[in-house]
């Protein structure tokens, strides 16, 4: 199997000019379409979305972790965080709501080709400690996303198709 057989097609994306406010709406409402052939779980809300520019090129990825990071001031390290006051996170969240996606997205995005074998993809996910990888089609455009869970589903299906292991 290749990456294109297990990936989830792109259903939603962000623009670098979107506000964080707009971005979280999409993060909360986007639904991962079920993958043909393999039964997965359909959960409302996604943990990350690709960011595409006006011509549809991949320029970044914004995850819920990036949204959390956006509220944490750059000057705050573990030592200073001890002194934060009740309500600080809420106050900072109000401040960044209208800031733009491009300020907080990760721009160093690793991708995988739709023609890549699953082993390449699994190795990349594990080695680079990634949760998801955008999948690039023939014209260098994003055609889908492959999640850790997608590869897990393939592996678990193989396990279950075998005879039950003897203890």
């Amino acid at each position: 199997m290749k990456v294109k057989n297990v990936m989830s097609p792109i259903t939603d994306s962000l623009s670098p000019e979107d506000t964080l406010q707009r971005a979280v709406v999409k993060l909360r409402t986007s639904i991962r379409r079920d993958i043909p052939g393999v039964k997965g779980l359909v959960v409302p809300g996604v943990k990350g979305l690709v960011v595409l520019n006006e011509v549809g090129e991949l320029v970044g990825i914004l995850t819920i972790k990036d949204v959390l990071r956006a509220t944490i001031p750059v000057y705050l390290d573990t030592k200073l965080a001890k002194f934060s006051w009740d309500g600080m996170l809420e106050e900072m969240a109000r401040r960044v709501a209208c800031r733009k996606v491009k300020e907080f997205m990760s721009t160093k995005v690793l991708t995988v080709s739709e023609e890549a074998p699953l082993m390449t993809c699994a190795d990349l996910l594990i080695q680079e400690k990634m949760q998801r990888l955008p999948v690039i089609g023939k014209d260098n455009k994003v055609v889908g996303i492959v999640y850790i869970r997608d590869i897990f589903n393939v592996i678990s299906q193989i396990f279950l198709d075998q005879e039950e292991c003897k203890l």
Binding site: P73, L76, R99
Partner: protein, 454 residues
């Protein structure tokens, strides 16, 4: 070409002269333009001086007149190592939070206390370290009080440049001047600290006048600061005790280094070695890796480039020109040096500037008092005010623009990352008047102490 050069008996204007001059000018232009990182420029320039046989390697590495000033390099290495070991103990966060609480959470009072704390710390440590450690806490406190952090950050940079002027170890120009002129820590305390104390008092006054009515906070916000327990910042009390013991010992060493005939670098290296030992670290490479190697290599490269232009006679030509302008009038030279250094340091990095001026002043002294040599020449009573003017001008001039001093670059960068951009003009609006005022007061001081009352 000026006829002076050709007719001067002291050196030949040969291809080596022009080659070295060209390397020097191109390096300066590249450093100012920031097109290539200054450390890369310095290393390449130094390498060219060697490859093109302007200097041989022995001169570059070992000759006091032309080579790397290892006293400066190892003093910086020693102090950076000590600071890298103190930093994780939470000492600086402790001081900053304690200061904010001493200010009772009132924004104006906190700004004044922070200015004093920054000034004192900058006199004892280097300015970059001081603002690097205090700026994050400042941004944090400003958020807690819901006030604009920008004036606080600019005042901190300014206070660190003023405070750093006070001592031999406070600012790189002083370290370089001390090493070249063989001045001691106590010489700086005796000659520069008094005027710096005056300048700090004036700075506090300026803060009060400028910000007195603008900074407001509510009872509730003040309570946020007062509720912070500064003791929680200390992560390693045992290491903190060891650090303060060694820091105290090092400062004592600086006070007595002249009397005991130790170079400042010896004292700093001893402190670094002792604290590394006491820290019981098994991985010194972490601590040593955090030393600002790019800055140190910038110094190394620069010393070799300057050594090259000293050897070929460019510096001698410049000193002859300067003598021609000032006609040997030392009061005039002193005032000119003070203001020229201040303006030059506001525009360019004061490190290459002072590296160039040091040999120039020594050469000029050689012209004025040809019968003197060694310490008698370097510390000729009539020459001393020139060293102090250079130090005051180069250190205080840094306040004139956001690129004038490393501390300014640090606060501007940190503010930008925190989403509070400090524009060039906004910095200048605070920095330039303070620079002009402090240099003016220094001018009065130099004139009064070394000429009028002398």
């Amino acid at each position: 070409m000026s006829p002076d050069i050709a007719s001067s008996p002291h050196f030949d204007v040969n291809p080596a002269f022009w080659t070295a001059t060209l390397i020097f000018i191109v390096a300066y232009v590249l450093i100012v333009s920031e097109k290539i990182h200054k450390t890369v420029v310095a290393i390449c320039g130094a390498a060219l001086m060697l490859i093109l046989h302007i200097l041989d390697q022995h001169e570059a590495f070992h000759a006091e007149e032309f080579g790397v000033d290892w006293n400066v390099i190892f003093l910086l290495i020693g102090m950076m190592t000590i600071i890298n070991l103190i930093r994780p103990t939470g000492f600086f966060e402790y001081i900053a939070i304690k200061s904010a609480k001493m200010g009772k959470g009132e924004p104006l009072r906190i700004m004044m206390i922070f200015a004093v704390v920054t000034g004192v710390l900058s006199a004892l440590l280097d300015n970059v370290t001081t603002v690097l450690l205090l700026a994050p806490v400042t941004l944090f406190i400003a958020d807690a009080l819901d006030v604009d952090p920008v004036p606080y950050l600019i005042i901190e940079a300014v206070a660190s440049n003023v405070g750093g002027t006070a001592t031999l170890i406070g600012d790189p120009p002083n370290i370089m001047i001390a090493s070249k002129a063989k001045l001691t820590f106590m010489d700086f305390i005796y000659h520069l600290s008094p005027v710096v104390i005056v300048l700090m008092v004036v700075l506090i006054g300026v803060i009060k006048v400028v910000f007195g009515r603008r900074l407001k906070s509510t009872m509730e916000l003040r309570q946020r600061v007062m509720a912070m327990d500064e003791k929680a910042a200390i992560t390693d009390p045992l290491m903190l005790k060891k650090s303060l013991f060694v820091l105290g010992l090092v400062l004592l060493g600086f006070v007595f280094h002249g009397a005991l005939h130790y170079e400042p670098a010896t004292v700093a290296l001893f402190g670094a070695g002792l604290l590394l030992l006491l820290s019981k670290t098994k991985e010194p490479h972490h601590i040593l890796a955090e030393i600002e190697w790019p800055t140190l290599f910038f110094f190394i490269g620069l010393f070799i480039i300057i050594g090259g232009v000293v050897k070929v006679g460019l510096i001698k030509w410049m000193s002859l020109e300067m003598l021609a302008i000032t006609q040997g009038n030392l009061l005039g030279t002193s005032m000119l040096l003070l203001w020229f250094s201040a303006i030059a340091s506001a525009i360019i990095d004061n490190i290459p500037y002072v590296a160039t001026m040091n040999p120039l002043i020594i050469d000029m002294a050689g012209q004025l008092w040809p019968e003197e040599t060694g310490l008698a020449l370097l510390q000729h009573p009539d020459l001393m005010p020139l060293w102090w003017s250079l130090a005051l001008g180069a250190c205080l001039g840094g306040n004139g623009s956001p690129i004038g001093a490393s501390a300014n670059v640090i606060v501007v960068g940190m503010a930008e990352r925190a989403g509070k951009r400090i524009s060039f003009m906004r910095f200048v609006a605070y920095g330039l008047p303070i620079m002009l005022l402090t240099v003016f007061i220094s001018m009065i001081y130099v004139w009064l102490r070394y000429y009028y009352l002398a």
